[in-house]
Protein backbone atom coordinates (compact mmCIF):
# COMPACT_ATOMS: atom_id res chain seq x y z
CA UNK A 1 0.00 0.00 0.00
CA UNK A 2 1.12 3.52 -0.70
CA UNK A 3 2.06 6.02 2.00
CA UNK A 4 -1.04 7.16 3.82
CA UNK A 5 -1.40 10.78 2.65
CA UNK A 6 -4.87 11.23 4.09
CA UNK A 7 -5.99 14.65 5.18
CA UNK A 8 -9.42 15.57 6.47
CA UNK A 9 -11.98 17.46 4.43
CA UNK A 10 -14.11 20.08 6.10
CA UNK A 11 -16.09 21.92 3.45
CA UNK A 12 -18.47 23.66 5.86
CA UNK A 13 -15.82 24.58 8.46
CA UNK A 14 -17.20 22.10 10.97
CA UNK A 15 -13.91 22.20 12.84
CA UNK A 16 -15.03 25.53 14.27
CA UNK A 17 -17.74 23.64 16.14
CA UNK A 18 -15.21 21.33 17.78
CA UNK A 19 -13.35 22.05 21.01
CA UNK A 20 -9.57 22.07 21.13
CA UNK A 21 -9.79 18.80 23.02
CA UNK A 22 -11.89 17.24 20.25
CA UNK A 23 -9.23 18.24 17.75
CA UNK A 24 -6.45 16.89 19.93
CA UNK A 25 -8.33 13.59 20.27
CA UNK A 26 -8.78 13.47 16.50
CA UNK A 27 -5.17 14.34 15.70
CA UNK A 28 -4.00 11.72 18.18
CA UNK A 29 -6.17 8.99 16.68
CA UNK A 30 -5.17 10.01 13.15
CA UNK A 31 -1.46 10.09 13.95
CA UNK A 32 -1.65 6.68 15.62
CA UNK A 33 -3.55 5.17 12.69
CA UNK A 34 -1.06 6.54 10.17
CA UNK A 35 1.94 5.33 12.15
CA UNK A 36 0.75 1.98 13.45
CA UNK A 37 -2.11 0.73 11.30
CA UNK A 38 -1.95 2.12 7.76
CA UNK A 39 1.32 0.33 6.94
CA UNK A 40 -0.10 -3.09 7.81
CA UNK A 41 -3.84 -2.91 7.20
CA UNK A 42 -3.80 -4.29 3.67
CA UNK A 43 -1.73 -7.26 4.80
CA UNK A 44 -4.01 -7.94 7.75
CA UNK A 45 -7.06 -7.74 5.52
CA UNK A 46 -5.56 -10.17 3.04
CA UNK A 47 -4.58 -12.59 5.79
CA UNK A 48 -8.01 -12.25 7.34
CA UNK A 49 -6.73 -11.50 10.82
CA UNK A 50 -7.20 -8.73 13.31
CA UNK A 51 -3.68 -7.53 14.24
CA UNK A 52 -3.92 -8.17 17.96
CA UNK A 53 -0.74 -6.31 18.81
CA UNK A 54 -2.70 -3.11 18.08
CA UNK A 55 -4.92 -3.55 21.14
CA UNK A 56 -2.60 -1.74 23.54
CA UNK A 57 -2.26 1.28 21.24
CA UNK A 58 -5.97 1.28 20.55
CA UNK A 59 -6.57 1.51 24.30
CA UNK A 60 -4.03 4.31 24.67
CA UNK A 61 -5.69 6.53 22.09
CA UNK A 62 -9.08 6.09 23.76
CA UNK A 63 -10.44 3.38 21.50
CA UNK A 64 -12.06 1.50 24.39
CA UNK A 65 -14.84 3.29 26.22
CA UNK A 66 -13.75 6.91 25.75
CA UNK A 67 -17.02 8.16 27.28
CA UNK A 68 -16.84 5.83 30.28
CA UNK A 69 -16.00 7.82 33.44
CA UNK A 70 -12.36 7.97 34.48
CA UNK A 71 -13.12 6.15 37.77
CA UNK A 72 -13.73 3.01 35.69
CA UNK A 73 -10.68 3.48 33.50
CA UNK A 74 -12.42 5.37 30.69
CA UNK A 75 -11.44 8.78 29.40
CA UNK A 76 -14.58 10.63 30.49
CA UNK A 77 -14.92 12.27 27.07
CA UNK A 78 -18.15 13.38 25.47
CA UNK A 79 -20.13 11.69 22.71
CA UNK A 80 -18.64 13.87 19.98
CA UNK A 81 -15.13 12.81 20.98
CA UNK A 82 -16.28 9.18 20.85
CA UNK A 83 -17.67 9.77 17.36
CA UNK A 84 -14.47 11.44 16.22
CA UNK A 85 -12.40 8.45 17.35
CA UNK A 86 -14.73 6.09 15.49
CA UNK A 87 -14.42 8.26 12.38
CA UNK A 88 -10.63 8.20 12.46
CA UNK A 89 -10.52 4.43 13.01
CA UNK A 90 -12.97 3.65 10.22
CA UNK A 91 -11.12 6.09 7.97
CA UNK A 92 -8.48 3.38 8.09
CA UNK A 93 -10.67 0.28 8.22
CA UNK A 94 -14.21 -0.61 9.29
CA UNK A 95 -12.89 -3.74 11.01
CA UNK A 96 -10.59 -1.69 13.22
CA UNK A 97 -13.53 0.52 14.16
CA UNK A 98 -15.68 -2.55 14.77
CA UNK A 99 -13.24 -3.97 17.29
CA UNK A 100 -13.25 -0.67 19.10
CA UNK A 101 -16.97 0.06 18.97
CA UNK A 102 -17.97 -3.43 20.07
CA UNK A 103 -15.72 -3.12 23.11
CA UNK A 104 -16.95 0.40 23.89
CA UNK A 105 -20.64 0.37 23.11
CA UNK A 106 -21.64 -3.25 23.31
CA UNK A 107 -19.53 -4.51 26.19
CA UNK A 108 -18.42 -1.61 28.37
CA UNK A 109 -21.63 0.38 27.89
CA UNK A 110 -24.04 -2.31 29.22
CA UNK A 111 -21.74 -3.16 32.12
CA UNK A 112 -21.51 0.54 32.98
CA UNK A 113 -25.24 1.23 32.56
CA UNK A 114 -26.81 -2.02 33.76
CA UNK A 115 -24.12 -3.70 35.82
CA UNK A 116 -23.59 -3.69 39.57
CA UNK A 117 -20.83 -1.58 41.09
CA UNK A 118 -18.89 -4.80 41.66
CA UNK A 119 -19.23 -5.76 37.99
CA UNK A 120 -18.12 -2.27 36.89
CA UNK A 121 -15.05 -2.42 39.09
CA UNK A 122 -14.20 -5.93 37.97
CA UNK A 123 -14.57 -5.52 34.22
CA UNK A 124 -14.42 -1.91 33.08
CA UNK A 125 -10.80 -1.00 33.96
CA UNK A 126 -9.47 -4.16 32.29
CA UNK A 127 -11.62 -3.56 29.21
CA UNK A 128 -10.55 0.10 29.03
CA UNK A 129 -6.88 -0.84 29.13
CA UNK A 130 -7.31 -3.58 26.54
CA UNK A 131 -6.11 -6.24 28.98
CA UNK A 132 -9.45 -7.92 28.30
CA UNK A 133 -11.38 -7.84 25.05
CA UNK A 134 -15.10 -8.28 25.02
CA UNK A 135 -17.80 -9.30 22.58
CA UNK A 136 -21.58 -8.98 22.42
CA UNK A 137 -23.91 -11.89 21.77
CA UNK A 138 -27.31 -10.94 20.43
CA UNK A 139 -27.66 -12.22 16.84
CA UNK A 140 -28.40 -15.92 16.41
CA UNK A 141 -28.25 -18.15 13.34
CA UNK A 142 -32.03 -17.95 12.96
CA UNK A 143 -32.61 -14.53 14.51
CA UNK A 144 -30.94 -11.54 12.89
CA UNK A 145 -33.36 -8.68 12.28
CA UNK A 146 -35.74 -10.29 14.75
CA UNK A 147 -33.67 -10.59 17.94
CA UNK A 148 -36.80 -10.91 20.09
CA UNK A 149 -37.20 -14.40 18.67
CA UNK A 150 -33.93 -15.57 20.22
CA UNK A 151 -33.76 -19.08 21.62
CA UNK A 152 -30.62 -18.78 23.76
CA UNK A 153 -31.82 -19.23 27.31
CA UNK A 154 -30.78 -19.68 30.91
CA UNK A 155 -32.34 -21.59 33.76
CA UNK A 156 -32.05 -21.02 37.48
CA UNK A 157 -30.09 -23.91 38.99
CA UNK A 158 -29.96 -22.76 42.59
CA UNK A 159 -26.62 -21.02 43.12
CA UNK A 160 -25.95 -20.48 39.39
CA UNK A 161 -27.61 -20.25 35.99
CA UNK A 162 -27.29 -22.78 33.20
CA UNK A 163 -26.94 -21.15 29.79
CA UNK A 164 -27.70 -22.86 26.48
CA UNK A 165 -27.83 -21.67 22.88
CA UNK A 166 -25.68 -20.18 20.12
CA UNK A 167 -24.85 -16.75 18.81
CA UNK A 168 -23.48 -15.96 15.35
CA UNK A 169 -21.66 -13.11 13.56
CA UNK A 170 -19.99 -11.99 16.74
CA UNK A 171 -17.13 -9.51 16.29
CA UNK A 172 -14.12 -10.13 18.55
CA UNK A 173 -15.54 -13.53 19.61
CA UNK A 174 -12.47 -15.64 18.75
CA UNK A 175 -10.19 -13.81 21.18
CA UNK A 176 -12.57 -12.20 23.66
CA UNK A 177 -12.15 -12.94 27.34
CA UNK A 178 -15.62 -11.61 28.16
CA UNK A 179 -18.95 -11.92 26.37
CA UNK A 180 -22.06 -9.91 27.18
CA UNK A 181 -24.74 -12.37 26.12
CA UNK A 182 -28.45 -11.71 25.78
CA UNK A 183 -30.62 -14.68 26.65
CA UNK A 184 -34.13 -15.43 27.84
CA UNK A 185 -34.95 -16.59 31.35
CA UNK A 186 -37.56 -19.22 32.09
CA UNK A 187 -40.31 -16.61 31.74
CA UNK A 188 -39.03 -15.61 28.29
CA UNK A 189 -37.64 -12.25 29.48
CA UNK A 190 -34.38 -11.10 27.85
CA UNK A 191 -31.47 -10.45 30.24
CA UNK A 192 -27.80 -9.63 29.81
CA UNK A 193 -25.37 -12.07 31.33
CA UNK A 194 -21.57 -11.92 31.43
CA UNK A 195 -19.85 -15.08 30.26
CA UNK A 196 -16.10 -15.47 30.65
CA UNK A 197 -13.69 -17.49 28.56
CA UNK A 198 -12.81 -20.68 30.40
CA UNK A 199 -16.30 -21.41 31.65
CA UNK A 200 -17.01 -25.05 30.91
CA UNK A 201 -19.18 -25.58 27.82
CA UNK A 202 -18.41 -22.13 26.34
CA UNK A 203 -16.64 -22.14 22.96
CA UNK A 204 -15.99 -19.47 20.30
CA UNK A 205 -15.32 -20.98 16.87
CA UNK A 206 -13.94 -18.55 14.30
CA UNK A 207 -16.01 -17.84 11.19
CA UNK A 208 -14.07 -18.02 7.94
CA UNK A 209 -14.67 -17.08 4.33
CA UNK A 210 -15.69 -13.45 4.80
CA UNK A 211 -15.11 -11.06 1.89
CA UNK A 212 -15.71 -8.15 4.22
CA UNK A 213 -14.30 -6.93 7.56
CA UNK A 214 -11.41 -9.29 6.99
CA UNK A 215 -9.16 -7.39 9.41
CA UNK A 216 -11.66 -8.03 12.21
CA UNK A 217 -12.15 -11.43 13.82
CA UNK A 218 -15.69 -12.78 13.76
CA UNK A 219 -16.95 -15.92 15.42
CA UNK A 220 -19.74 -17.84 17.05
CA UNK A 221 -20.55 -18.19 20.72
CA UNK A 222 -21.68 -21.69 21.67
CA UNK A 223 -23.17 -22.34 25.11
CA UNK A 224 -23.55 -25.96 26.06
CA UNK A 225 -24.89 -26.13 29.60
CA UNK A 226 -22.57 -23.32 30.71
CA UNK A 227 -22.69 -22.72 34.45
CA UNK A 228 -22.71 -18.96 34.98
CA UNK A 229 -22.51 -17.48 38.50
CA UNK A 230 -25.63 -15.53 39.46
CA UNK A 231 -23.46 -12.51 40.10
CA UNK A 232 -22.83 -12.29 36.34
CA UNK A 233 -26.38 -11.24 35.49
CA UNK A 234 -26.71 -7.54 34.59
CA UNK A 235 -29.47 -6.48 36.96
CA UNK A 236 -30.06 -2.91 35.79
CA UNK A 237 -32.34 -3.55 32.85
CA UNK A 238 -34.12 -6.40 31.08
CA UNK A 239 -36.21 -6.83 27.95
CA UNK A 240 -35.22 -6.16 24.34
CA UNK A 241 -34.75 -2.46 25.14
CA UNK A 242 -31.58 -3.29 27.05
CA UNK A 243 -29.56 -4.66 24.11
CA UNK A 244 -31.17 -2.13 21.78
CA UNK A 245 -29.88 0.75 23.92
CA UNK A 246 -26.37 -0.68 23.48
CA UNK A 247 -27.01 -0.81 19.74
CA UNK A 248 -28.04 2.86 19.84
CA UNK A 249 -24.59 3.69 21.17
CA UNK A 250 -22.83 1.48 18.63
CA UNK A 251 -24.94 2.71 15.71
CA UNK A 252 -24.17 6.26 16.70
CA UNK A 253 -20.46 5.37 16.47
CA UNK A 254 -21.04 3.72 13.09
CA UNK A 255 -22.69 6.91 11.80
CA UNK A 256 -19.44 8.73 12.52
CA UNK A 257 -17.29 5.86 11.36
CA UNK A 258 -18.93 5.63 7.94
CA UNK A 259 -18.02 9.27 7.32
CA UNK A 260 -14.41 8.25 7.92
CA UNK A 261 -14.56 5.54 5.25
CA UNK A 262 -16.22 7.97 2.84
CA UNK A 263 -13.63 10.65 3.53
CA UNK A 264 -10.80 8.24 2.83
CA UNK A 265 -12.31 7.19 -0.51
CA UNK A 266 -12.97 10.82 -1.45
CA UNK A 267 -9.50 11.92 -0.40
CA UNK A 268 -7.83 9.22 -2.49
CA UNK A 269 -10.07 9.86 -5.51
CA UNK A 270 -9.62 13.62 -5.36
CA UNK A 271 -5.83 13.35 -5.23
CA UNK A 272 -5.81 10.74 -8.00
CA UNK A 273 -8.03 12.92 -10.21
CA UNK A 274 -5.58 15.79 -9.88
CA UNK A 275 -2.56 13.65 -10.75
CA UNK A 276 -3.79 11.15 -13.32
CA UNK A 277 -3.43 12.50 -16.84
CA UNK A 278 -5.53 11.41 -19.81
CA UNK A 279 -5.95 13.29 -23.08
CA UNK A 280 -3.16 15.62 -21.89
CA UNK A 281 -4.87 16.91 -18.80
CA UNK A 282 -5.73 15.72 -15.30
CA UNK A 283 -8.88 13.60 -15.28
CA UNK A 284 -10.22 15.93 -12.55
CA UNK A 285 -10.55 18.58 -15.26
CA UNK A 286 -13.28 16.56 -16.98
CA UNK A 287 -16.89 17.26 -16.13
CA UNK A 288 -17.93 13.67 -15.45
CA UNK A 289 -15.18 13.23 -12.86
CA UNK A 290 -16.00 16.58 -11.30
CA UNK A 291 -19.63 15.53 -11.01
CA UNK A 292 -18.61 12.46 -9.06
CA UNK A 293 -16.27 14.40 -6.76
CA UNK A 294 -18.68 17.29 -6.22
CA UNK A 295 -21.49 14.94 -5.29
CA UNK A 296 -19.19 13.06 -2.93
CA UNK A 297 -18.18 16.13 -0.95
CA UNK A 298 -21.80 17.33 -0.91
CA UNK A 299 -22.97 14.04 0.59
CA UNK A 300 -20.07 13.94 3.04
CA UNK A 301 -20.81 17.48 4.19
CA UNK A 302 -24.50 16.69 4.69
CA UNK A 303 -23.56 13.62 6.72
CA UNK A 304 -21.09 15.63 8.80
CA UNK A 305 -23.78 18.18 9.70
CA UNK A 306 -26.36 15.49 10.49
CA UNK A 307 -23.95 13.58 12.65
CA UNK A 308 -22.55 16.52 14.55
CA UNK A 309 -26.10 17.53 15.50
CA UNK A 310 -26.80 13.95 16.56
CA UNK A 311 -23.69 14.16 18.74
CA UNK A 312 -25.04 17.27 20.44
CA UNK A 313 -28.31 15.46 21.11
CA UNK A 314 -26.43 12.43 22.47
CA UNK A 315 -24.48 14.72 24.78
CA UNK A 316 -27.75 16.12 26.06
CA UNK A 317 -29.29 12.65 26.39
CA UNK A 318 -31.99 13.59 23.88
CA UNK A 319 -31.12 11.58 20.75
CA UNK A 320 -33.86 9.10 19.94
CA UNK A 321 -33.27 5.60 18.60
CA UNK A 322 -35.02 6.64 15.40
CA UNK A 323 -32.72 9.63 14.94
CA UNK A 324 -29.73 7.33 15.36
CA UNK A 325 -31.22 4.90 12.83
CA UNK A 326 -31.55 7.69 10.30
CA UNK A 327 -27.91 8.71 10.69
CA UNK A 328 -26.58 5.15 10.59
CA UNK A 329 -28.62 4.33 7.53
CA UNK A 330 -27.88 7.52 5.66
CA UNK A 331 -24.18 7.61 6.38
CA UNK A 332 -23.37 4.00 5.63
CA UNK A 333 -25.29 4.15 2.38
CA UNK A 334 -23.55 7.43 1.54
CA UNK A 335 -20.16 5.83 2.22
CA UNK A 336 -20.82 2.74 0.12
CA UNK A 337 -21.99 4.87 -2.83
CA UNK A 338 -18.91 7.06 -2.52
CA UNK A 339 -16.65 4.00 -2.40
CA UNK A 340 -18.19 2.77 -5.66
CA UNK A 341 -17.85 6.14 -7.38
CA UNK A 342 -14.32 6.64 -6.08
CA UNK A 343 -13.36 3.22 -7.38
CA UNK A 344 -14.45 4.29 -10.84
CA UNK A 345 -12.39 7.47 -10.73
CA UNK A 346 -9.31 5.35 -10.10
CA UNK A 347 -10.10 3.15 -13.08
CA UNK A 348 -8.17 -0.09 -13.01
CA UNK A 349 -5.96 1.09 -10.15
CA UNK A 350 -9.08 1.27 -8.03
CA UNK A 351 -9.35 -2.50 -7.83
CA UNK A 352 -5.83 -3.00 -6.48
CA UNK A 353 -4.67 -3.04 -2.89
CA UNK A 354 -2.37 -0.12 -3.59
CA UNK A 355 -5.40 1.99 -2.73
CA UNK A 356 -7.87 1.43 0.10
CA UNK A 357 -11.09 1.91 -1.83
CA UNK A 358 -11.98 -1.68 -2.70
CA UNK A 359 -11.28 -2.71 0.90
CA UNK A 360 -13.60 0.01 2.20
CA UNK A 361 -16.23 -1.03 -0.33
CA UNK A 362 -16.11 -4.65 0.79
CA UNK A 363 -16.13 -3.68 4.47
CA UNK A 364 -19.11 -1.40 4.06
CA UNK A 365 -21.19 -4.30 2.73
CA UNK A 366 -21.08 -5.62 6.31
CA UNK A 367 -21.58 -2.24 7.90
CA UNK A 368 -24.74 -1.63 5.86
CA UNK A 369 -26.09 -4.94 7.14
CA UNK A 370 -24.95 -5.26 10.74
CA UNK A 371 -26.43 -3.41 13.69
CA UNK A 372 -29.70 -3.08 11.86
CA UNK A 373 -29.89 -3.54 8.11
CA UNK A 374 -30.42 -0.69 5.70
CA UNK A 375 -34.01 -1.84 5.28
CA UNK A 376 -34.76 -2.23 8.96
CA UNK A 377 -33.54 1.29 9.71
CA UNK A 378 -35.86 2.58 7.00
CA UNK A 379 -38.77 0.83 8.72
CA UNK A 380 -37.74 2.37 12.03
CA UNK A 381 -38.01 5.82 10.45
CA UNK A 382 -41.27 4.80 8.81
CA UNK A 383 -42.71 3.63 12.12
CA UNK A 384 -41.48 6.76 13.87
CA UNK A 385 -43.19 9.13 11.46
CA UNK A 386 -46.41 7.20 10.75
CA UNK A 387 -46.96 5.43 14.03
CA UNK A 388 -47.46 2.10 12.19
CA UNK A 389 -45.15 -0.85 12.80
CA UNK A 390 -44.32 -2.43 9.42
CA UNK A 391 -41.93 -5.05 10.76
CA UNK A 392 -44.41 -7.85 11.17
Amino acid sequence: MRTDLYQGHDYYLMDELLTEEHKLVRDTARAWVKKEVSPLIEGAWEKGEFPRHLIKGLAEIGGFGPYIPAEYGGAGLDQIAYGIIMQELERCDSGLRSTSSVQSSLVMYPIWKYGTEEQRQKYLPKLASGEWIGCFGLTEPDHGSNPAGMTTNFKDAGDHYVLNGAKMWISNAPFAQVAVVWAKNEEGRIHGIIVERGMEGFTTPTMHGKWSLRASDTGELIFDNVKVPKGNLLPGRSGLGAPLSCLDSARYGIAWGAIGAALDCYDVALRYSQERQQFNKPIGAFQLQQKKLAEMITEITKAQLLTYRLGQLRNEGRATSAQISMAKRNNVNMAIQIAREARQILGGMGITNEYPIMRHMCNLESVITYEGTHDVHLLITGMDITGFDAFK
Binding site: E20, E21, V25, T28, K35, I61, G62, L77
Partner: protein, 246 residues
Protein backbone atom coordinates in the same frame (compact mmCIF):
# COMPACT_ATOMS: atom_id res chain seq x y z
CA UNK B 1 16.81 17.92 36.21
CA UNK B 2 14.92 21.06 35.33
CA UNK B 3 14.34 21.41 31.60
CA UNK B 4 12.78 24.22 29.60
CA UNK B 5 11.48 23.30 26.15
CA UNK B 6 10.66 26.20 23.86
CA UNK B 7 7.93 25.44 21.34
CA UNK B 8 6.66 27.41 18.41
CA UNK B 9 3.61 26.87 16.26
CA UNK B 10 3.91 26.23 12.56
CA UNK B 11 1.40 25.63 9.77
CA UNK B 12 0.75 21.99 8.99
CA UNK B 13 2.81 21.00 5.98
CA UNK B 14 -0.31 20.53 3.84
CA UNK B 15 -1.41 24.17 4.37
CA UNK B 16 -2.01 26.43 1.42
CA UNK B 17 0.28 29.43 1.78
CA UNK B 18 -1.18 32.87 1.05
CA UNK B 19 -0.63 36.42 2.29
CA UNK B 20 -2.89 39.34 3.11
CA UNK B 21 -2.58 43.04 3.89
CA UNK B 22 -0.42 43.84 0.91
CA UNK B 23 1.69 40.69 1.29
CA UNK B 24 2.79 41.69 4.79
CA UNK B 25 0.83 39.14 6.77
CA UNK B 26 0.52 35.36 6.55
CA UNK B 27 -3.09 34.41 5.89
CA UNK B 28 -4.05 32.10 8.75
CA UNK B 29 -7.56 31.54 7.40
CA UNK B 30 -8.20 27.81 7.23
CA UNK B 31 -4.65 26.96 8.28
CA UNK B 32 -4.15 24.13 10.72
CA UNK B 33 -1.31 24.85 13.15
CA UNK B 34 0.86 22.19 14.69
CA UNK B 35 3.69 22.19 17.20
CA UNK B 36 6.83 22.91 15.21
CA UNK B 37 8.06 19.35 14.57
CA UNK B 38 11.69 19.94 15.59
CA UNK B 39 10.48 21.36 18.91
CA UNK B 40 8.01 18.53 19.50
CA UNK B 41 9.48 15.34 18.07
CA UNK B 42 13.04 15.91 19.14
CA UNK B 43 13.44 18.53 21.88
CA UNK B 44 10.29 17.81 23.87
CA UNK B 45 10.35 14.04 23.55
CA UNK B 46 14.03 13.79 24.57
CA UNK B 47 13.38 16.12 27.51
CA UNK B 48 10.57 13.82 28.63
CA UNK B 49 12.74 10.73 28.24
CA UNK B 50 15.42 12.30 30.46
CA UNK B 51 12.84 13.33 33.03
CA UNK B 52 11.28 9.86 33.04
CA UNK B 53 14.69 8.24 33.56
CA UNK B 54 16.13 10.67 36.10
CA UNK B 55 13.23 12.61 37.57
CA UNK B 56 12.74 16.35 37.30
CA UNK B 57 10.45 18.74 35.58
CA UNK B 58 9.78 19.73 31.97
CA UNK B 59 8.35 23.19 31.40
CA UNK B 60 6.99 24.35 28.04
CA UNK B 61 7.59 27.93 26.97
CA UNK B 62 5.97 29.71 24.05
CA UNK B 63 6.07 33.32 22.96
CA UNK B 64 2.73 34.21 21.41
CA UNK B 65 -0.94 35.07 21.79
CA UNK B 66 -3.83 32.98 23.08
CA UNK B 67 -3.90 31.19 19.72
CA UNK B 68 -0.83 29.32 20.98
CA UNK B 69 -2.77 27.50 23.68
CA UNK B 70 -3.91 24.49 21.60
CA UNK B 71 -0.34 23.59 20.75
CA UNK B 72 0.74 24.18 24.36
CA UNK B 73 -2.02 21.80 25.53
CA UNK B 74 -0.76 19.23 23.06
CA UNK B 75 2.75 19.51 24.52
CA UNK B 76 1.25 19.04 27.99
CA UNK B 77 -0.73 16.04 26.69
CA UNK B 78 2.47 14.49 25.40
CA UNK B 79 3.85 14.72 28.93
CA UNK B 80 5.30 18.13 29.92
CA UNK B 81 4.55 19.13 33.50
CA UNK B 82 3.62 22.77 33.16
CA UNK B 83 3.71 25.60 30.66
CA UNK B 84 4.32 29.29 30.36
CA UNK B 85 3.06 31.51 27.58
CA UNK B 86 4.69 34.89 27.24
CA UNK B 87 1.86 37.00 25.96
CA UNK B 88 3.65 38.73 23.10
CA UNK B 89 3.16 38.83 19.38
CA UNK B 90 6.05 36.99 17.80
CA UNK B 91 8.12 39.24 15.65
CA UNK B 92 11.76 38.82 14.78
CA UNK B 93 14.08 36.22 16.26
CA UNK B 94 15.95 38.57 18.58
CA UNK B 95 12.70 39.79 20.08
CA UNK B 96 11.58 36.18 20.73
CA UNK B 97 15.01 35.27 22.14
CA UNK B 98 14.92 38.25 24.51
CA UNK B 99 11.50 37.16 25.80
CA UNK B 100 12.73 33.62 26.46
CA UNK B 101 15.99 34.78 28.06
CA UNK B 102 14.26 37.31 30.26
CA UNK B 103 11.88 34.67 31.55
CA UNK B 104 14.49 31.95 32.00
CA UNK B 105 17.32 34.01 33.50
CA UNK B 106 16.49 33.42 37.18
CA UNK B 107 14.63 30.09 36.99
CA UNK B 108 17.64 27.80 37.23
CA UNK B 109 16.97 25.57 34.23
CA UNK B 110 19.60 22.89 33.70
CA UNK B 111 18.86 22.62 29.99
CA UNK B 112 17.03 24.92 27.60
CA UNK B 113 15.98 22.96 24.53
CA UNK B 114 14.71 24.26 21.19
CA UNK B 115 14.19 22.63 17.83
CA UNK B 116 16.88 23.40 15.29
CA UNK B 117 14.50 25.66 13.35
CA UNK B 118 10.85 26.35 12.76
CA UNK B 119 9.48 24.87 9.57
CA UNK B 120 7.81 28.13 8.53
CA UNK B 121 10.52 30.77 9.05
CA UNK B 122 13.59 28.51 9.25
CA UNK B 123 15.62 31.15 11.09
CA UNK B 124 17.59 28.71 13.29
CA UNK B 125 18.89 31.54 15.44
CA UNK B 126 16.64 31.83 18.49
CA UNK B 127 18.44 29.22 20.65
CA UNK B 128 21.85 30.71 19.85
CA UNK B 129 20.61 34.14 20.80
CA UNK B 130 19.07 32.82 24.03
CA UNK B 131 22.41 31.23 24.96
CA UNK B 132 24.22 34.49 24.23
CA UNK B 133 21.76 36.59 26.22
CA UNK B 134 22.04 34.20 29.19
CA UNK B 135 25.77 33.73 28.75
CA UNK B 136 25.38 29.96 28.53
CA UNK B 137 27.11 27.37 26.34
CA UNK B 138 25.23 26.56 23.14
CA UNK B 139 25.26 23.24 21.32
CA UNK B 140 23.47 23.57 17.99
CA UNK B 141 22.07 20.77 15.81
CA UNK B 142 22.41 18.06 18.44
CA UNK B 143 21.25 14.59 17.39
CA UNK B 144 21.89 12.86 20.72
CA UNK B 145 21.76 13.95 24.34
CA UNK B 146 22.64 11.94 27.43
CA UNK B 147 23.02 13.25 30.94
CA UNK B 148 25.03 11.38 33.59
CA UNK B 149 26.03 12.73 37.00
CA UNK B 150 25.60 16.33 35.92
CA UNK B 151 27.60 15.95 32.71
CA UNK B 152 25.73 16.21 29.43
CA UNK B 153 27.14 14.38 26.43
CA UNK B 154 25.87 15.49 23.05
CA UNK B 155 26.47 14.37 19.52
CA UNK B 156 26.33 16.75 16.58
CA UNK B 157 26.34 15.89 12.94
CA UNK B 158 29.27 17.62 11.29
CA UNK B 159 30.56 17.44 7.76
CA UNK B 160 31.51 13.80 7.18
CA UNK B 161 30.97 12.54 10.70
CA UNK B 162 29.90 13.10 14.27
CA UNK B 163 31.22 15.47 16.89
CA UNK B 164 30.88 14.52 20.54
CA UNK B 165 30.64 17.35 23.04
CA UNK B 166 30.50 17.35 26.84
CA UNK B 167 28.98 20.15 28.90
CA UNK B 168 28.78 20.68 32.63
CA UNK B 169 26.33 23.12 34.10
CA UNK B 170 23.42 24.77 32.36
CA UNK B 171 23.35 25.02 28.61
CA UNK B 172 21.16 25.64 25.56
CA UNK B 173 20.78 23.23 22.66
CA UNK B 174 18.98 23.02 19.36
CA UNK B 175 17.64 19.57 18.53
CA UNK B 176 17.91 17.99 15.10
CA UNK B 177 16.36 14.85 13.61
CA UNK B 178 17.52 11.74 15.42
CA UNK B 179 17.47 13.00 19.01
CA UNK B 180 14.20 11.17 19.73
CA UNK B 181 11.19 9.67 18.01
CA UNK B 182 7.82 11.29 17.68
CA UNK B 183 5.53 10.44 20.57
CA UNK B 184 1.77 10.35 20.04
CA UNK B 185 -0.13 11.61 23.08
CA UNK B 186 -2.37 9.07 24.75
CA UNK B 187 -5.82 9.57 26.21
CA UNK B 188 -4.47 9.65 29.76
CA UNK B 189 -2.15 12.47 28.72
CA UNK B 190 -4.95 14.40 27.03
CA UNK B 191 -7.06 14.11 30.16
CA UNK B 192 -4.17 15.16 32.41
CA UNK B 193 -3.41 18.16 30.20
CA UNK B 194 -6.78 19.66 31.13
CA UNK B 195 -5.55 20.47 34.62
CA UNK B 196 -1.82 21.07 34.16
CA UNK B 197 -0.78 24.65 34.93
CA UNK B 198 -0.47 27.07 32.02
CA UNK B 199 0.81 30.40 33.26
CA UNK B 200 0.45 33.50 31.10
CA UNK B 201 3.03 36.19 31.75
CA UNK B 202 3.07 39.64 30.17
CA UNK B 203 5.62 40.40 27.48
CA UNK B 204 8.93 41.79 28.62
CA UNK B 205 9.94 45.15 27.23
CA UNK B 206 12.07 44.61 24.15
CA UNK B 207 12.61 46.40 20.91
CA UNK B 208 11.85 44.81 17.57
CA UNK B 209 15.04 45.32 15.64
CA UNK B 210 13.88 44.52 12.13
CA UNK B 211 10.86 45.46 10.07
CA UNK B 212 9.03 43.06 7.79
CA UNK B 213 8.59 44.59 4.35
CA UNK B 214 6.74 41.89 2.44
CA UNK B 215 6.36 38.21 1.64
CA UNK B 216 6.36 36.66 -1.80
CA UNK B 217 5.54 33.17 -2.98
CA UNK B 218 8.21 31.37 -4.97
CA UNK B 219 7.66 31.54 -8.74
CA UNK B 220 5.24 28.94 -10.06
CA UNK B 221 6.84 25.75 -11.30
CA UNK B 222 7.29 25.71 -15.06
CA UNK B 223 6.15 22.95 -17.34
CA UNK B 224 8.26 19.82 -17.34
CA UNK B 225 10.15 19.00 -20.52
CA UNK B 226 11.01 15.36 -21.21
CA UNK B 227 14.12 14.50 -23.20
CA UNK B 228 14.73 11.05 -24.57
CA UNK B 229 17.42 9.23 -22.60
CA UNK B 230 19.25 8.56 -25.86
CA UNK B 231 19.47 12.28 -26.67
CA UNK B 232 21.98 13.53 -24.06
CA UNK B 233 23.21 16.14 -26.55
CA UNK B 234 19.77 17.76 -26.58
CA UNK B 235 19.80 17.95 -22.81
CA UNK B 236 23.13 19.73 -22.74
CA UNK B 237 22.09 22.15 -25.47
CA UNK B 238 18.81 23.02 -23.71
CA UNK B 239 20.54 23.51 -20.36
CA UNK B 240 23.03 25.76 -22.06
CA UNK B 241 20.90 27.71 -24.50
CA UNK B 242 17.42 27.78 -22.95
CA UNK B 243 17.85 27.34 -19.22
CA UNK B 244 21.27 29.03 -19.33
CA UNK B 245 22.46 27.13 -16.28
CA UNK B 246 25.60 25.60 -17.81
Amino acid sequence: MKILVCISKAPDTTSKIAFTEGNTKFDENGVQFIVNPYDEWYALVRALEIKEAQGGNVTILSVGGADYEPIIRKALAIGADDAVRIDAQESDSLYVAKQIAEYAKDKGFDIIMCGKETINYNGSVVPGMVAELLDLPYIPLAVKLDVNAGVATLEREVNGGLEVVEVTGSFVLSAAKGMAEQRIPNMRGIMAARTKPLQVVPAFAAETSTKLVSYDLPPAKGACKYIDAEQAGDLIRILHEEAKVI
